[in-house]
Subunit: 232 residues, 2 copies
């Protein structure tokens, strides 16, 4: 199963979702999980306290053999580290042999490489903050996907940094549910400072704060996508 | 005075700062203020409930004459609306005749146009969320500026979405103050849902929630930059 996490709107929780969904899938027994850091910011790699030892995402996309990094304290979770130059095109069908799940983190923009990886994905996961600028970002993503000939059939929307006591969050989530139906995932990621602390310690939410809402929400997300995957 | 708001890290509050700083400057009697939407997402334009009537930022940068839009309910505040295609280069010294302040909102990436506008700016304002990924984003921006031969002398850091009850926010702000001294502005923008609501009504924080912390913080920011400007 290939999950492409993307949204050209910045700061919506793409990296936070990639790290913690990957760990949740491996911990739920979904098999071997490969995280891929497609963002030249390399925040997915930094969040795990890792760095490339020579072989990185540019090699992986070009089909050059190499070894993903094992993520400490997360059995079954591996990483293709990021490269500081943006990867322009998608030369080959990137290798995922030996892995059951692929979770790709993208930068906050649009490119042919992103469109290509979306085309090959089983699930296109779009995190968004449920407010006005979040909706603007989503509308632009949908237009861009349409212009690139990508259908929305495998698109799944994930509300992030959610505080249900905020009227704007409740209102926007209700509007998303009305407009998108099952495309809006029934699981949301609540705002939790533990999620913002974990990358500072190079850990996933499961080793930093296993009893937090952040851990529960990402575990729920993994279970949901594992069911979704069987249906796909 | 030209203020360039940028940070290639996404979702740090660039657009939120541009709209409300611009309005605060005009309301504080700083003169005529021109907002410029350099982001192809066009969120600055959408936040004010406006849209381009033909003339946009691509025309402005190429020196083609045109009329900025007057922002309703904000006397003295005008907008150069965004263009949906990214502006690649910086052909001419963009016109600011007749305006006392220029406030430019940039997309979450790096380009020659952004580097060029930074070079011509009196203040380079970098909003950031005071947590680990926020710091990572800042380190990358500093490296990118250095590689482009841009000095940090006019750089000002603005902590955004701040909740002082969070240890990570207190710790990171203390580290920023220690490392950057006066480059870190003594004013911060506190987390406030009113700031996330305002763009949904096409209004600035001053007409949406004049008594909110969001309004007070942006007014403080404007006063501070007006003093900074005199010293510059
Ligand atoms: N549920 C959450 N609760 C609290 N903080 C969060 C949550 N999700 C993300 N954050 C914080 O919000 C900021 C943005 O998240 P993140 O960097 O994961 O977004 P992104 O979409 O990957 O950003 P970019 O567009 O720059 O790649 C980070 O500082 C992160 O720690
Ligand atoms: N101080 C604040 N309190 C609460 N919400 C905020 C605050 N500042 C910004 N936001 C919200 O956080 C999100 C990100 O802010 P904004 O879009 O202004 O950032 P940006 O840096 O311009 O993003 P991009 O990188 O996509 O251009 C928006 O949904 C906005 O409404
Ligand atoms: Mg990211
Ligand atoms: Mg913006």
């Amino acid at each position: 199963m290939r999950v492409m996490i993307c949204n050209q709107k910045g700061g919506v929780g793409k990296t936070t979702t990639a790290v913690n969904l990957g760990a949740a899938l491996a911990r739920a027994g979904a098999g071997r999980v490969l995280l891929v850091d497609l963002d030249p910011q390399m925040h997915l790699t930094a969040s795990l306290g890792l760095q490339s030892e020579g072989w990185d995402v540019a090699d992986w996309l070009s089909g050059r053999a190499g070894r993903p990094l094992a993520v400490p304290d997360e059995p079954g979770l591996f990483l293709v580290p990021g490269a500081s130059e943006a990867v322009a095109d998608l030369p080959a069908d990137p290798a995922a042999a030996g892995f059951d799940w692929l979770v790709i983190d993208a930068p906050p923009n649009w490119s042919d490489a992103i469109a290509g990886l979306m085309r090959g994905a089983d699930i296109v996961l779009c995190p968004l903050e449920p407010d006005f600028l979040g909706l603007q970002g989503l509308n632009r993503l949908l237009r861009t996907m349409q212009a690139a000939g990508l259908d929305w059939g495998r698109l799944r929307l994930l509300a992030t940094r959610v505080s249900d006591r905020l009227a704007v969050h409740r209102e926007v989530r209700a509007r998303l549910a009305e407009r998108f139906g099952e495309t809006l995932l029934p699981v949301a990621i609540r705002a939790s400072v533990k999620l913002a602390e974990a990358p500072g310690r190079g850990r996933t939410i499961f080793t930093h704060a296993p009893a937090s809402t952040g851990a529960a929400d990402h575990a729920d997300l993994a279970r949901l996508l594992m069911q979704d995957g069987r249906r796909a």
